[in-house]
Subunit: 476 residues, 2 copies
């Protein structure tokens, strides 16, 4: 898309009548939703940004629908008036997905949050999009099943689908994309459709479930999802160990993955992150790069897996190798990992926290992490590193003075370089956080404009008025 074309389509929202159209849409919806429609500034501010994204863009109104039919009704009215619609889950996204740069109506799905069905015979369930993963797992507690996709934050299932979330369990269970079987979606014209099915596989036509998954609310609004559940493992063994240097830790990861060790979680905290965790969670871990491992299966299998891992771990100089089967003891071992984000923030409480996210082929992980660490230090920034390293995915938590353009520029240098390096080595600019507003230029850098144009043509074919979460994934 040329610059002039872009200016033209952007003008859809900048015309003098744009605000008048939003007002018309709100006027039409207000009698339907009454106190479930708010134009109050504080409510709009709560919905104008996700977690950890600096800019805030307020919607013109927030609506809390209670059903798919109500979502459809709002979308129909918005389509009629050419007004943006932004779906909002738990607000934990990190790339500005829920911001409203062109105003419009925010659909807060928090009250559409029931588990509609759990089918133990097939190990699947049907949920509404507003339920959070913790609430879902709480409701599954007595079934023997759980939904293992765990992006860290207590995100909503709808939001996780929108960003193609993953997290700590990916080595074993895949991302959410491999665990969504079917979707009910409200399209841009308000039509309600269902795609996918409950079979374990299908070759029936284009895979629209995977196309909606990760489309960040730009192709449709998910109003129901059929999820694959997993049986709770008989036994879980957790382990923690520390390494004299970062390379030893990451080389261990590479060797574990390359030898096909059936590890289910493999998490890294660097030295600075461990220091932050010790301070925040009152622990006394050795302030060294630390690896958290988890194995699942029968007790015999887990023990066998662990014993094999020990040989690899020790050969890279690990010390303080601890190990537990017991749930309470495991939680204690992993305490540092679970609170890592808040511990990092506490290193510099007044700072903005920008969470960088890249994912690279496992063979390049050690080099990429080491290079990022060196650049962070050279720029004099405060930025711990942690990661779901078993996938080649790592995060830098940049703690940046919000009033310092200079610090932000130094961060940008490091982050741009991390992404360039990832691209050069066959990796991606985002393992799990998505594009949102923050990485639209990086998406083009990753695939080239022809591929991004293919995505855009799908968007235009399905949402000709461009009302669904405009300005995300690509520029208007």
């Amino acid at each position: 898309m040329s610059v002039s074309q872009r200016a033209q389509s952007s003008s859809k929202y900048d015309t003098p009548d744009a605000k008048a159209r939003v007002a018309k849409a709100i006027e039409q919806l207000r009698p339907v939703f009454a106190e479930r429609l708010s134009v109050g500034v504080s409510v709009r501010e709560q919905h104008g940004r996700g977690e950890a994204f600096a800019q805030s863009y307020l919607p013109d109104a927030v609506i809390w629908p209670l059903s798919t039919a109500e979502v459809s009704q709002v979308v129909k009215v918005c389509n009629e008036w050419r007004v943006p619609v932004i779906a909002f889950g738990a607000g934990t996204s990190l790339e500005g997905h829920v911001s409203a740069p062109y105003g419009g109506i925010c659909l807060d799905l928090a009250r559409i949050n029931r588990v509609l069905e759990v089918r133990a015979d097939d190990g699947d369930c049907v949920v509404q999009p507003g339920i959070t993963r913790e609430e879902l797992n709480a409701q599954l507690r007595d079934t023997g099943f759980y939904f293992p996709i765990d992006p860290g934050a207590n995100a909503s299932i709808g939001g996780m689908i929108a960003t193609r979330a993953s997290g700590t369990n990916t080595i074993r269970y895949g991302t959410i994309a491999q665990n969504v079987m079917a979707l009910e979606v409200v399209l841009a014209n308000g039509e309600i459709v269902r795609c996918g099915n409950r079979a374990r596989k299908s070759s029936a036509g284009y895979d629209l479930v995977r196309l909606f998954t990760g489309s960040e609310g730009t192709l449709g609004i998910v109003t129901e999802a059929t999820l694959r559940l997993h049986g709770r493992p008989e036994a879980v063994g957790s382990s923690i160990c520390s390494f004299p240097d970062l390379r030893g830790a990451v080389d261990t990861v590479m060797e574990l993955i390359q030898t096909g060790a059936p590890v289910s979680r493999l998490e890294l905290l660097d030295e600075l992150q461990v220091r932050a965790c010790n301070a925040y969670s009152k622990l006394s871990l050795p302030e060294q790069p630390t690896l958290f491992m988890e194995f699942m299966g029968t007790e015999a299998a887990v023990t066998e897996q662990f014993e094999r891992a020990v040989d690899i771990v020790k050969s890279h100089g690990a010390a303080g190798l601890e190990w537990a089967f017991d749930e309470q003891r495991r939680a204690a071992l992993w305490k540092a990992r679970h609170a890592a984000y808040f511990a990092a923030r506490a290193l510099r409480p007044a700072a903005d926290c920008i969470v960088a996210d890249v994912c690279v082929p496992i063979s390049h992980l050690a080099d990429c992490v080491a290079k990022a660490r060196a650049q962070i230090d050279a720029e004099g920034l405060v930025a711990p590193i942690l990661g779901h390293v078993g996938d080649g995915n790592f995060h830098v938590l940049f703690l940046i003075d919000p009033n310092s353009d200079d610090e932000r520029a130094r961060m940008d240098r490091v982050y741009d370089s991390m992404i360039e390096t990832a691209h050069r080595l066959g990796g991606t600019c985002t393992g799990e956080h998505g594009i949102g507003m923050g990485k639209r230029d990086k998406l083009i850098a990753e695939f080239g404009s022809s591929v991004v144009d293919l995505m855009r043509r799908v968007k235009e074919a399905w949402d000709p008025n461009g009302i669904l979460n405009p300005g995300k994934v690509f520029d208007l």
Copy 2:
């Protein structure tokens, strides 16, 4: 799309000048490809149908390109002249995917068949589309890796991607969709693009790799694929056992899956299929419903898994439980399974073999298989059943007198009923064979016309002239 619209777009290929345009395209391409372009009838007949699909539609010419650039060149010329292009791999597809109902040019990719790279450090490889899975695994033999997706036939990797193939290893490794990391694709205008990357996961924009996978050559022609490889398991244990009735066998499958047994293959042959295998492969298996199981892991883990499975298997009345670790012995045990398709054909050598393919939630598998068997018998047809039952996927091999409309009508009654039942129970009209020409109406039955229209709009946005494999997935 209304009937009149359909008639209109179909007329693109029926206009008096359609043949003239094909002739122009061939004339333009002949000097480039010389003896690698053929208009001979016997060559065109070899390319006019896949396996097991009754109708044959001949392309106007067959071209054997040697490179991505040559594929692009052909597609460009075809796009210019509005001539259909049909990609052809090994010709093993079962739903008429490679037929040319509107004529045009068949691109036989068999000579673009090299392994371009094997990256042992990351467990991935880059291959060209014409390589077959057996050839790929032969070339991987010394690397410690293999590509486990096994649809039975020695299909080409490009064809497997096009139909979203799976087969016997799906329980453990997923379908091919979960094992394709990146694609190079020639688009309808001849442009060459790359999507996906070598990271283990990514949230970068719409998932075009999964959209191309299963699109049956209607959105682009895959010219290169990056595949995830898997380490050869340390130990494999294979087992076979027979059951007094079909329900006992399928109930065993359901219980194994529902208890989360880490089985890697789980295959069923019914009584008639076993009889066919005994005759064809000179075996003496009990002529009863028979289950083939396989476990992978360390020897200790496999033994533990097998011992647990035995309890379940025996509780359903299994007899003749045999078990082997040794490769030669395993091959002997599974011999009946491997030759099942040809054994079935040999039951009635002059018959057409139509391979029905449905996939249902595992909890409904026993009912669906039993119902199919009863209907086959009630209609007096010869049709063994076999299946990748661990996924809920089963096949009926209908052996039909090609000259008997009556037999075909009886088959249609059974097959239509199988699909209706699958749909009613949350399953799919195709677990792994795809839509092709054979199931276009079933795709609409599965999702409704709105969802099929979403697919069609992608097709129209990416291939406005409709040259890529027209008449597949949906009617024109």
